[in-house]
């Protein structure tokens, strides 16, 4: 299955802003009640805000122009009450809407992370880590900025605008139509330009993602750059990415700013219309000075938010471009679904490959028609030249991938019918590249282990010693409390492998796969490991991939893996012969 997000984005038909928005709004569908309440607050608040100028206009016409100061005071009292009420509604509108959007962001982040957890290993191999991290961090941050800051202003401004528009039309229809006419032009212009702006922003986000994965790659491998004297190369590559980013940033910046002066222009034109047309209407006796003053207020009330909306629209487009990139991830489904319970075969082998074919992509088949069986309690070794398919075979045993054809049977059942929990309980896999989480050795050994997670250090040490792992723990200076970092050279590769080994053994799996899991460990320590493996319960099946022959000398059976085919070697000698004769085809 294709999980490459950059290829996906090319293939995917463009989603309209509206469709994207709709999907986003589904995340808050369950908050209808609060949304209604918030809407009520918003409407009350904007009508209060809008009634203000009307009252002021009325005061001017009826009282100021007729020199009735008690009337002025009377109306001022009314205004004060309105303003006090607005104080309350304005607070509740922000509070209500804001909390809805905070919860929405919370749900959104959770669903992205959840999706990341559901997707198979293939997804992570097909995408650059830097790009993924940028998508999940930066793009959600864009949404975050929009929801935590812009959305409330957005809604507040729209309600004020709509209200002001209604008042403009109600007070004097012809004048209202004339005042609003420039807004229609703006609307048309906005609609026409939006796709262009969105495209520009998407381009920019993409080059930002490219730049951060460039930096990520170079910085994490900086020692190679130094040792090969390629500092200039790093500079050059960064310069290209930076220049590229500059170009797209200018493009998106110009696109984003295009509206601000235009909106200002139209707002001024509208004022001019009010002034000219209004005064004309007054001269023919159809309008009053007081109304003109409030009318000017309303047109400001209408166009000022519009101008802010232009700025907010940018944030909105940015958020939507981010949302697009995130929904690409959200729309992916795992290609490793758990199937309904199938038929369970009697007296089956612990694990069996039946005519398995596999390729990481459609054009290149890595494994061709592989069949073999693993019995309980035995030790198997997979040997063969590099690139022959050993790791791939092991990955299929652990169901990191599914075969493209054929079946993998676990305990007489299709491996695809096992729940994740059941399967991972049965199969332990020590990966070629050990991965550690930032924390202590204890955190890492107990990672994902429910059985011992509440053990104190003393209890855990006892468990470790009982599992014959005590000698390995002793290698770490501060024992369980030794600090490790996820990245960097805080501990050696060999030590990382030791931690991964302890982690896997303590989980007590039925099948334990070691994929060159001890490659960087010295041979004496490795002998310890080998003893530990031998002392595992009789029921544990071991599958060992190694280049060092002493690691596999105790194997009950040896499989020779080469050019995507698996054949059985009778003895270690046979395996050696095959290795020597085997032509390396990768």
């Amino acid at each position: 299955m294709n999980y490459d997000l950059n290829k996906l984005s090319q293939a995917q038909q463009k989603t309209s802003t509206l469709a994207g928005l709709k999907k986003l709004l589904q995340l808050i569908a369950h908050e209808k009640k609060i949304l209604l309440l918030a809407l009520l607050a918003i409407l009350t608040n904007s009508s209060l805000n809008l009634l203000g100028p009307l009252v002021i206009g009325h005061t001017i016409d009826t009282y100021v122009q007729h020199k009735d100061y008690s009337g002025v005071i009377h109306n001022a009292t009314i205004l004060l009450c309105m303003y006090l009420l607005a104080l309350f509604t304005s607070y509740s509108q922000t509070k209500l809407m804001g909390s809805v959007s905070q919860r929405m962001l919370f749900t959104l982040r959770n669903s992205i992370f959840n999706k990341l957890q559901q997707l198979p290993v293939g997804f992570f191999n097909q995408n650059k880590a830097g790009d993924l991290i940028s998508r999940v961090n930066n793009d959600t941050d864009k949404l975050n900025q929009f929801f935590s800051q812009s959305l409330m202003q957005f809604i507040g401004n729209i309600s004020i605008m709509v209200g002001a528009g209604v008042f403009l039309l109600l007070i004097k229809f012809e004048l209202g139509v004339a005042t609003l006419a420039p807004a229609v032009l703006i609307l048309v212009l906005t609609l026409v330009l939006s796709p262009w702006i969105k495209r520009k922003n998407a381009q920019n986000l993409k080059s930002v993602g490219g730049m951060s994965s460039e930096i990520q790659e170079s910085l994490h491998n900086f020692k190679v750059i130094i040792a090969f004297n390629r500092r200039d190369y790093f500079r050059k590559r960064f310069e290209t990415a930076n220049r590229d980013n500059y170009k797209t940033a200018i493009g998106s910046g110009l696109a984003n700013n295009v509206f601000i002066p235009v909106y200002g222009l139209f707002a001024s034109i509208a004022q001019l219309i009010v002034l000219a047309f209004g005064i004309y209407l007054i001269t023919i006796g159809q309008f009053s000075i007081g109304l003109l003053v409030s009318y000017l207020s309303y047109s400001t009330n209408f166009y000022n938010p519009l101008r802010q909306l232009a700025a907010l629209w940018t944030n909105f487009q940015l958020a939507m471009a981010g949302w697009d990139r995130i929904s690409q991830i959200l729309s992916l489904e795992t290609d490793l679904p758990v199937m309904e319970n199938g038929i369970s075969e009697q007296n089956a082998a612990l694990l069996e490959f039946r005519n398995v074919h596999f390729g990481y992509n459609d054009d290149q088949e890595i494994l061709h028609n592989i069949s073999f069986k693993l019995e309980q309690g035995k030790t198997y070794a997979l040997v063969g030249p590099t690139g022959g398919g050993k790791t791939t075979t092991a990955s299929l045993i652990a169901r990191l991938y599914d075969p493209s054809k054929g079946l993998v049977m676990l305990d007489g059942r299709d491996i695809r019918t096992y729940s994740l929990e059941e399967r991972t309980q049965k199969i332990g896999f020590i990966l070629q590249e050990p991965f550690l989480f930032t924390g202590t050795v204890k955190d890492n050994i107990l990672y994902g282990n429910d059985l011992y997670k509440d053990h104190s250090n003393e209890q855990l040490e006892k468990v470790i010693i009982d599992a014959n792992l005590g000698s390995l723990l002793a290698i770490f200076e501060s024992g369980l409390e030794t600090q490790v970092l996820s990245s960097g050279d805080s501990i050696s590769l060999g030590q990382k492998q030791l931690i991964a080994f302890m982690r896997a053994v303590l989980r007590n799996p039925q099948i334990l796969i070691l994929d060159e899991a001890t490659a960087n460990i010295d041979t004496i320590t490795e002998q310890l490991l080998s003893d530990i493996l031998n002392k595992l319960p009789d029921t544990t099946t071991r599958v060992i991939i190694a280049h060092r022959l002493n690691t596999i000398e105790n194997a009950d059976e040896i499989f020779f893996v080469n050019s995507g085919e698996v054949s059985r070697a009778g003895s270690l000698n046979d395996a050696m012969d095959m290795l020597l004769q085997g032509k390396r085809v990768s």
Binding site: Q65, G98, I215, F234, N304, L572
Partner: protein, 583 residues
């Protein structure tokens, strides 16, 4: 840590100092902003005089239209120019700053990068630069034009009616005070929530980089819970911040409304008693709405400035770091003699190497074996000048490693790292990583590393792009590509860090004999676990816990070192087969 606090009294230059090289652009920007804002202030005046002229019955229609249109046009043109310059200026500042940072980083040592932490440097180059960009593109203009409008509008209010103006302007300190109080609290919350977001990102990063492990262990739920905890905390901070903002805006609006009320009551009174015209009264209302908005902006922008300053401080730490002194001038061709004398290395508190001395004759082969965490890799790092010894020295051809020009040095010393480091580019670029590589030496390196068959079977041969963490390649293929990379520079000295770990015995033998044949006279320093592959080496060192506990050729060590014998025996049972295979 202590070195950071040595000069606390020297205040670092503020974020404004960044703008110096862009003075031309910035002044133009401010000039345009001031012109458009200045004319904007004029608009209510035009309206006011229109209303007054009308009440005085000598209203000239075309005159007011002309003035108004002119003003509108000027505003439009200048605000347009302003946005364009704003975009260019901010992006240019960001681009140059990024480039400067990258240049600086590219000149630093390995130790610096590790200490500064690559993830933090990534943040410096992206998020921190972005917040400075935002400062240039928004804060700068907004602040200057807001101040201009506030001052300008205040002055105009005073010229119309000073008593009323005084009453209206009284709101500025109230609003300012509210902003100050709220933003002070919010900023503290922001810093805390930034910490939570960092935590969120850490969980995301680890879950992406450790994706395979998580799936093998089925710890998705565990990761989700970690994330959920951080996310819940982030939500709570978000809600707290929201609480402050929810209070801020109504209070500020209410204060502004009170000003409108004051205008109505006082202004109404003045109009009634004839001390103020109706037009001026209308203008007062217009200026009030002009006045409020900039105050809001100033409040929010102060936040942007604070963020930009914080970012600039973080960036300055990197920019102001002392340059690595590259005093080396020697460009001689190496013969390949290596000597270490009394070298000790202390990492943090713990010693990684203790008084290590040995020498390697040019063209000879030396092996370093030893248990996990004995300090073998650090030893190789010392030999490539990636790190410097705490005491003692490293000599090449009798001269200190530091006296060599680093470019010339690195083009003669090849290093195959233990961990697979494959860049997201073509195989050709991955191998010919240094620009001194000719096609001929590229071919020779490929042949030697036994990569020929593999490359020929790829769809696009040498131009095939391999992915970032090299996940489309097997462990052995990555190792061989890395070997070819080291050989392609035609090194005089080759350092192998556990190269044989991921390559099968058969291939390993072929490769080593290829090296003998194709690179005669090469000094080979190999860190390894396998005694069998190094039995015939000129010298074998046994390194344990940072100390050389035994040295000599294989036969000597078998006589003198029980530790060596133990390692030998641990491999003995199968080395027969390997011997059998070799002969």
């Amino acid at each position: 840590m202590k070195t950071d606090t040595q000069k606390p009294d020297k205040k670092p230059p503020g974020v404004f100092s960044l703008l110096k090289p862009y003075m031309g652009l910035v002044s133009l920007l401010l000039l345009f902003a001031l012109i458009s804002n200045g004319v904007n202030l004029w608009l209510p005046k035009i309206i006011a005089s229109g209303i007054d002229d009308y009440t005085k019955q000598h209203f000239v229609f075309s005159d007011i239209i002309k003035k108004f249109s002119l003003a509108v046009l000027v505003i439009f043109i200048f605000s347009y120019l302003q946005t364009i310059i704003q975009t260019y200026a901010s992006e240019r500042v960001a681009r140059d700053l990024r480039q400067k940072l990258a240049d600086k980083i590219s000149r630093q040592s390995h130790a610096f990068i590790e200490k500064a932490n690559p993830s933090k440097l990534l943040t410096n180059l992206t998020a921190d630069v972005d917040s400075i960009k935002l400062f240039v593109s928004q804060a700068l203009v907004s602040i200057v034009s807001s101040l201009f409008i506030i001052i300008g509008a205040s002055i105009l209010l005073f010229t119309i009616n000073w008593k009323l103006a005084l009453a209206v302007i009284a709101i500025i300190p109230i609003i300012g005070g509210t902003f100050f109080y709220v933003l002070k609290n919010v900023r503290a919350l922001f810093i805390k929530s930034r910490g939570v977001i960092d935590q969120l990102n850490k969980v995301i990063n680890e879950s992406i980089l450790g994706a395979a492990l998580i799936r093998v262990i089925n710890s998705q739920q565990l990761e989700y819970n970690k994330f959920l905890e951080a996310n819940t905390e982030a939500k709570q901070y978000g809600l707290k911040i929201l609480g402050f903002f929810a209070g801020l805006i109504p209070i500020v609006t209410f204060t502004a409304n009170l000003a409108a009320l004051t205008i109505l009551m006082m202004g109404g009174h003045f109009v009634i008693n004839g001390s103020m015209t109706l037009g001026s009264f209308a203008a007062f209302n217009s200026y009030l709405s002009l006045l409020i908005f900039p105050i809001f902006i100033l409040g929010f922008m102060s936040n942007l400035i604070a963020q930009a300053s914080a970012s600039f401080t973080r960036i300055s730490v990197v920019l102001d770091a002392p340059d690595m002194v590259d005093a080396g001038t020697l460009k001689e061709t190496l013969r390949g003699e290596v000597e270490l004398k009394d070298v000790s290395l202390v990492y943090g508190q713990k010693p990684a190497l203790k008084n290590v001395s040995f020498s390697v004759a040019a063209g000879s082969k030396i092996a370093i074996i030893g248990p996990t965490a004995a300090g073998k890799t650090q030893l190789l790092y010392l030999l490539t000048n990636l790190i410097n010894p705490t005491s003692g020295y490293v000599h090449y051809d009798g001269r200190s490693i530091e006296s060599y020009n680093s470019e010339s040095f690195h083009s003669q010393v090849g290093f195959v790292f233990q961990d697979s480091i494959i860049f997201n580019m073509s195989i050709r670029e991955n191998i010919a990583f240094s620009d001194t590589v000719t096609d001929e030496s590229l071919e020779k390196a490929i042949e030697t590393a036994e990569l020929r068959d593999f490359i020929d079977n790829l769809p696009e041969k040498l131009n095939t792009i391999v992915s970032e963490r090299g996940s489309s390649l097997s462990g052995g293929q990555k190792q061989r590509i890395m070997l070819a990379r080291a050989l392609a520079v035609n090194p005089k000295v080759l350092l192998l860090d556990d190269f044989t770990a991921r390559v099968d015995t058969n291939t390993e033998k072929k490769i080593l004999s290829n090296i003998q044949k194709n690179y005669p006279g090469l000094t080979l320093i190999s860190v390894t676990q396998k005694i069998a592959s190094v039995e015939h080496y000129d010298q074998i060192l046994l390194l344990t816990q940072g100390e050389i506990v035994a040295r000599g050729v294989h036969d000597e060590l078998m006589q003198t070192s029980p530790d060596y014998v133990q390692i030998f025996n641990s491999q003995q049972s199968t080395s027969n087969y390997e011997h059998g295979a070799a002969h």
